[in-house]
């Protein structure tokens, strides 16, 4: 990985692509109706991906997408309740699944006290949470796994998160401690990532690196 290409550098380097502008479409361009549907999140995911995959690369469609989005989003902001209802309907199955996973995970929480915690605290504060254990790329078995990270000042709450390779959140649990004992279920077998998000007193959020966690 090139350490110099941070987010800001990437955006700046990519900018010339976005400055290319045309109103001429090709045969593969989605219709203006399809663009509007994608902006509104209508239709199935595969279709929306297809349309947006093209629209984010094609200068003519990108310009139209921006216009339709700006107008459409303004409409959505005028009817917040409708949006909330739509969002909830769409995400209800995922939210239900996440709640079930979380319920299982929370049942296994053990708050560690004493020597371990003190040693970890003495490891020093950092601007963002630094992961300690399991190490990056570690292989673990299903069952209890203890996650450890270093503290940072001004934290209200940490959230441990384990994600599948496709980005799906497998496990998410809040804690005020810097250790968490989670139950890894057989459904998590394979390569995952784990990370910690820290909610700070000023309302901002700091996020650790994401480490690979292989579950066998």
């Amino acid at each position: 990985m090139s350490p110099d290409f941070d987010d800001e550098a990437l955006r700046a380097a990519y900018k010339p692509v976005l400055q290319e502008s045309t109103t001429t479409h090709g045969p593969d361009c989605p219709s203006e109706r399809e663009l509007l549907s994608a902006v509104r999140g209508e239709g199935n995911e595969a279709e929306r991906l297809r349309v947006l995959d093209h629209a984010t690369k094609c200068p003519a469609c990108r310009r139209e997408l921006a216009l339709l989005h700006a107008v459409s989003t303004a409409e959505m902001r005028a009817t917040p309740r409708a949006i909330r209802d739509i969002s909830w309907q769409r995400w209800k199955p995922a939210a239900l699944a996440a709640a079930l996973v979380l319920a299982v995970g929370l049942a296994s929480v053990v708050r560690l006290r004493g020597r371990d915690t003190e040693e970890i605290t003495r490891a020093g504060a950092d601007a963002r949470p630094v992961l300690v254990s399991p190490s990056n790329g570690a292989a673990v078995s299903t069952g209890f796994v203890r996650f450890v990270w270093r503290p940072i000042p001004g934290v209200i709450q940490y959230t441990l998160e384990i994600d599948a390779s496709d980005g799906t959140v497998l496990f998410s649990a809040p804690t005020r401690d810097t250790t968490f004992r989670a139950t890894i279920s057989p459904t998590a077998v394979g390569e995952n990532r784990w990370l910690v998000r820290a909610k700070l007193q000023d309302g901002s959020e700091q996020r650790s690196e994401a480490w690979v966690l292989r579950v066998r």
Binding site: R11, A38, L67, A74
Partner: protein
């Protein structure tokens, strides 16, 4: 024009209404106007203009970072302006129409604009492709060319990502925020965040493999 066919435009506050001429009150010192001129018309016009101005500000605040072209928005708003007047002529008040009417009209106007443009472009033979050469302030032509080459390589590297990460990364680099991406793709905030994060990780890895690093400036 006979009296029974005569209509006047009326306005009070956010109201814009066309009423029959003989329905007007006898008192003339009120915000109604006969014909297409006078203080009442001015007020109707200023009401619409104020509405359009507020709407434009709001839409621009949403679209500015995501590549909205001002000329496109202004063209849409001109259409919206006409439709609002037409709605007034149909006897509707802005209050009756409701706030969502404005957004529906704007969306329809935007779709019509795009449809017209596409139809017009299909008849044209010239591909009007524009480049904005200003990469950074005071950038030399050589820097501009280099900048475009680097951007093209990054774009090519993005092409190698899986489709969900590709879309997430392109939207992210184009200034769309996670809420936008999540709403359009029906993803949760967490999934969106992860796909953007991992997509960027993949992209950096690809760029390193391709021997591409940030340009040295200054």
């Amino acid at each position: 024009m006979q009296a029974k066919d005569a209509y006047v435009l009326t306005t009070t506050g956010t109201h814009l209404r066309l009423v029959r001429d003989d329905e007007l009150p006898a008192v003339v010192e009120q915000p109604y106007v006969r014909g297409m001129a006078g203080p009442g018309l001015d007020r109707a016009s200023s009401t619409i203009e104020a509405l359009i101005t507020r709407f434009r500000t709001m839409v621009r605040s949403v679209g500015a970072r995501r590549g909205l072209v001002d000329a496109d928005l202004d063209e849409v708003l001109q259409d919206v302006r006409i439709r609002l007047w037409q709605a007034g002529e149909g006897g509707k008040t802005l209050e009756e129409l409701g706030s969502s009417y404005l957004y529906q009209v704007a969306t329809t106007a935007a779709l019509d604009l795009l449809r017209r443009r596409r139809a017009r472009r299909a008849d044209d033979t010239d591909d009007i492709r524009e480049h904005t050469d200003v990469i950074t302030d005071n950038a030399s032509p050589h820097d501009a060319v280099e900048g475009r080459e680097l951007a093209s390589k990054i774009d090519a590297a993005i092409d190698t990502l899986s489709i969900d990460r590709r879309v997430a990364v392109r939207l992210h680099l184009s200034g769309w925020d996670r809420d936008d991406i999540a709403r359009m793709l029906g993803w949760t905030e967490a999934r969106t965040r992860n796909l953007v994060y991992r997509g960027l990780e993949d992209l950096r890895r690809r760029l390193t493999d391709m021997g591409i690093s940030p340009r040295r400036t200054g």
